[in-house]
Amino acid sequence: MLPTPDTSHVPYNRVYEPAEDSFLLLDTLSSPSETAFLSSLGPGSGVVIAFLTAHASTIFGTPHVLTTAIDVSPFACAATDLTVRKAITENTSTSGHWTSPIQGDLVTPLRGGSVDVLVFNPPYVPTPELPSPPAAPLQELREKTTFEEDSHLLELTYAGGKDGMETTDRLIEALPRVLSARGVAYILLCAQNKPEEVKGRIRAMGAGTSAGEGEGMGEGEGWKAETVGTSGKQAGWEKLQIVRVWR
């Protein structure tokens, strides 16, 4: 077992605390062999991307892995940056290369065809509606936040709208543009997301759905989606699984 990164500095009143879902992503990712540009979406505390960066040699077979993380919350960006840096200092012999956190909405800031490994722990809890994105005052890092602001930031980390899929569906739509030809996405789903239907939708995307930007889509092949990890049948109401998506 590789050690889990230290997240003792993370302000959990406004940043998502690593829970079973984060650790399931860690377990599943300890096996693949892809390398290069790796991006974590909605990293929260940064525990997953810190683990992947710090143990790059062990996980990917090479330390030549560049990592980044994208989150709407400035607090999550700052927490992630520190979690990753700490983890690297404690694992210098196996670490990959951390670039910088980016504040943004899913993969919208990334150029086409750039991502080789994408990891997404989405807001997956079904809710009547999606919380609004953080307005300008909440986009800036600062010492004091109100209880309402903290609640808003936390809500953004779990509230997924209809079927808990509104945000994840937007990410899936963006995959053809942003994944490299060998790119793979790992997406965490809960039972309420109707994973079998989600995988069906991904497989139905087919070759024709690429926006055609950058190195984007290869010739003629469709999309694949398989469950590669589950939290087991005994898990609570969330019943988590990780779906691997590639072309």
């Binding site: 700052a78 910088s100 504040q103 543009r177 926006a211």
Partner: protein, 127 residues
Amino acid sequence: MKVMTLNFLTCAVKNCKSSNDSFPLHPKEAELAKDDIEINPQLLINVLPRIDWAALRTTSTELGFPTLPEQPPSPEDLQSDEALLKELHELLMETQMMEGKLVCGHCGHEYAVKNGVANFLLPSHLV
């Protein structure tokens, strides 16, 4: 934000994705900082295929660094070119943009960089 990161960033506006002018983003009023990092030639050689060279040349010039060769070096050439290795190491790995703006050449939108983090969240009328 490392200059390396900048090579992977484009304008977040949907309509800009298909325009060549939206990449690379142009630094404006950039305040740079330099980290002291040990040079890792193998990393630079390995990262070369992932770098958009033309964009990096533009960025290098705009940030006031020496002009890079027009064509990217082959892995063999880079291996034996100590000066270029050092230049790339300084630019990609050591240089951080701490403050300033990143400007899209297509729509003109300016993304703020504060404390080394670029903010790509768009105002609602641009989403």
